[in-house]
């Protein structure tokens, strides 16, 4: 009996593909669903379909890359937003794709135990682990305004960055300083790349950033062992290459000069452009209109729900510019004379216009009739012999 079942087990295992034989399965996903997900991620990054398969292989490799996730001055919004991603869910990401070895919100262990584990990983996987920073780093007075395990956050970051294969700064706080760095910046909060001189930090700004921009970047790193194409501020181009204004669903209203002027006015209720309410879409680089938030479908993002974008991904906009200040339009400025919001739906037939239209018809008919009466009926064939070929 046991021999038979052993053979069966072996047979089953061989019959399965490499992907399914992976210890721990695929987080409840079937193989087809998982490949679909990876291909989807590849597509959102503008990669060929075959990259989806490569991603699936990388994500299910037996050696999961360890990830150390540090929190500085922040609200945990980035983690919260990541917790609400559904393809894949965070648990399938951290249990199957990566090995999340240190994360203050999600750790099972606590206190000295957690710190000890972090150090063990940093030594064991020196040069191999991924460091993720969430939150800004205070630097005033040696960084004492944010301490973890009796040590300033800035030291944690610098120490962990030493042996990191890649560093990702998630959220605006880590990417450019966030709200902590806004005037008067009492703790001299800085972005991760500002306290790590000379190290490349992939910035995923946003407050919170779209979780899929983070996941896509991680999967790209795991697959190709290099960061995706970055812009001059080290943001992945696939996510931050275009202005919100360029793909905004309300853009036609902007071009047509239809603007909401107050919350709840006619234009606002009609879904007109929010530029005049201070929308920072025209100066903000992010892919929000293309992928939305919360996996609930089209229109689920700030502008989609009727609130002007406040430019959370941009240092020049968010927290540093009043929410209702006009954006600096980077494409071209709208014309100064805007038509009224409640455009009339047609003027109807004016008596004059009707008279003219009738006159045209009458004149045409009259002229045709007169012309016909004047012209000779039958034409003598000999009249035009000279035309013959």
């Amino acid at each position: 009996m046991t021999a038979v079942s052993d053979t069966d087990l072996l047979f089953n295992r061989l019959a399965k593909t490499e992907l399914d034989s992976y210890e721990g399965g695929l987080g409840g996903l079937t193989r087809r669903e998982f490949l679909k997900y990876c291909t989807g991620i590849a597509a959102t990054m503008g990669l060929p379909t075959v990259a989806g398969v490569q991603m699936a292989q990388a994500a299910t490799a037996s050696q999961r890359p360890p990830v150390i996730w540090l929190h500085g001055q922040e609200c945990t919004g980035c983690t919260e937003s990541l917790l609400r991603s559904y393809h894949p869910t965070l648990e399938s990401l951290i249990l199957d794709t990566i090995s999340l070895d240190y994360h203050e919100t999600l750790c099972v262990g606590a206190g000295k135990q957690a710190e000890a584990h972090k150090h063990k990983i940093m030594e064991e996987f020196h040069g191999k682990y991924v460091l993720v920073t969430e939150g800004a780093t205070p630097t005033k007075d040696g960084g004492i305004y944010c301490k973890i395990g009796d040590k300033p956050h800035v030291e944690h970051v610098q120490e962990a960055a030493e042996g990191a294969a890649a560093i990702i700064a998630i959220g605006s706080c880590a990417a450019w300083g966030g709200i902590q760095s806004a005037h008067p910046n009492p703790t001299e909060a800085k972005a991760t790349h500002e306290v790590l001189n000379g190290k490349t930090v992939i910035n995923i700004p946003g407050c919170p950033p779209n979780p899929y921009n983070f996941i896509s970047t991680v999967l790209y790193l795991l697959t190709f062992n290099k960061p995706p194409e970055l812009d001059q501020e080290n943001r992945p181009k696939f996510a931050y290459g275009r202005l919100i204004h360029e793909n905004c669903e309300r853009r036609p209203h902007f071009d047509a000069g239809r603007f909401a002027l107050e919350f709840g006015d006619y234009g606002h209720r009609q879904g007109f452009c929010l530029y005049k309410l201070g929308c920072k879409g025209p100066e903000t680089y992010a892919n929000c209109p293309a992928i939305g938030f919360g996996d609930v479908g089209f229109g689920a993002w700030p502008i989609g729900t009727g609130h002007p974008c406040f430019g959370c991904t941009m240092k020049e906009s968010a927290f540093n510019k009043p929410i209702h200040a006009l954006a600096d339009v980077k494409t071209y400025a709208p014309p100064t004379a805007f038509p009224a919001v409640d455009a009339p739906k047609g003027g109807g037939i004016s008596p004059g216009a009707a008279a003219i239209a009738a006159a045209i018809g009458g004149a045409a008919l009259g002229a045709a009739a007169v012309a016909m009466r004047k012209m000779p009926g039958r034409v003598d064939e000999s009249d035009n012999t000279e035309h013959s070929d």
Partner: protein
Amino acid sequence: MAHASHSPLGGKLLTKPFLVLLIFALIGGFFIARRFIFGLGDVTHMSGGYPWGIWIAVDVIIGTALGCGGFAMALLVYIFNRGVYHPLMRPALLGGLFGYTLAGLAVVIDLGRYWQTYNLLLPWFAQPNSVMFEVALCVMAYIAVLWIEFSPAFLERFGLTAVRDKLKKYMFVFIALGVLLPTMHQSSLGSLLLVMGSQLSPLWYTIWLPLLFLVTALAMGYGVVILEATVVTNAFALPSEQRILGRLSPLVAWLLGGFLVLRFLDIAYRGHTGLMFAGDLNGFMFWLENLMFLGATVILGLRSTRTNQRLMFLASILLLLAGSLYRLDAYLVAYNPGNGWTYFPSVPELMVTIGVISLEILLYLVFIKKLPVLHGVRPVQSH
């Protein structure tokens, strides 16, 4: 084939019709100036629901179809090598020249941001998948081609026969383009409506729109040639072109017959026959245009029409009215964007269209009097 000789008609320029047309053109010009100073809303009744008014529907969509005389004749004379029709070529080209040039002018007047028109010509802004882009480029190119095709008339007038003879060597290129470009954009004027979906009545909306527009453009092109030849030869007491026109008529009858058969079969196949008898405005317009098409088809098909100038004239009028109405219906009457939008042109808007058409006829008169366009004119007498 015998080469047709052309000569200017001569005669006084400042005639009564000229002055009447000039007054209408000036009124149109006044409102065009207002449009550029005070904006579109000052002059037109166009709206968000009807961004295309009569300037597009009449001046462009109908205007270019009426300008298809050059296209239709070029197809016949050069592609099917029917040299017998050659005497009709130059006047037809002249009609096309004004039809298209002024349609281009109408588009610029109609465009909200006309100052950006040049962007169409910048390849890095091109959107090659857009029908509108194709129409815009094709029409622009065709206007240029028409001027080149017509240029021998200028060159002869100013005695530059050497240049004309040189140009003649390469004329085949422009003649080929002169057939290709209208084939492309006249069918695309139908394709433009394909995106309207249910906003256009199913009596007009069909996947065959591009073909139906192309066929009507060709038929209207021949219609214009017939009308213009009949009117001009009578008005200026020139030798009749009836014999050539008579040969042309069965061809047009076949074209129109094919159009009608396709149209009715298609509506029946799609199951919208009931809409013809709905008793509403759309149904009425549908029958009006098709009965006129049918009338033109029958008259042109009659053997006795070939020698009867009056019947020929009547048929061409019916054909042009039917073709124009078909286009007006498809672009405005049967088009309903919903949400309570309505449209009827305003007085200034109508005056602009009348002004543009008046200018077209006025320039035609000037050109045939001053340039060698018409065929069979007796030597100009000194006066």
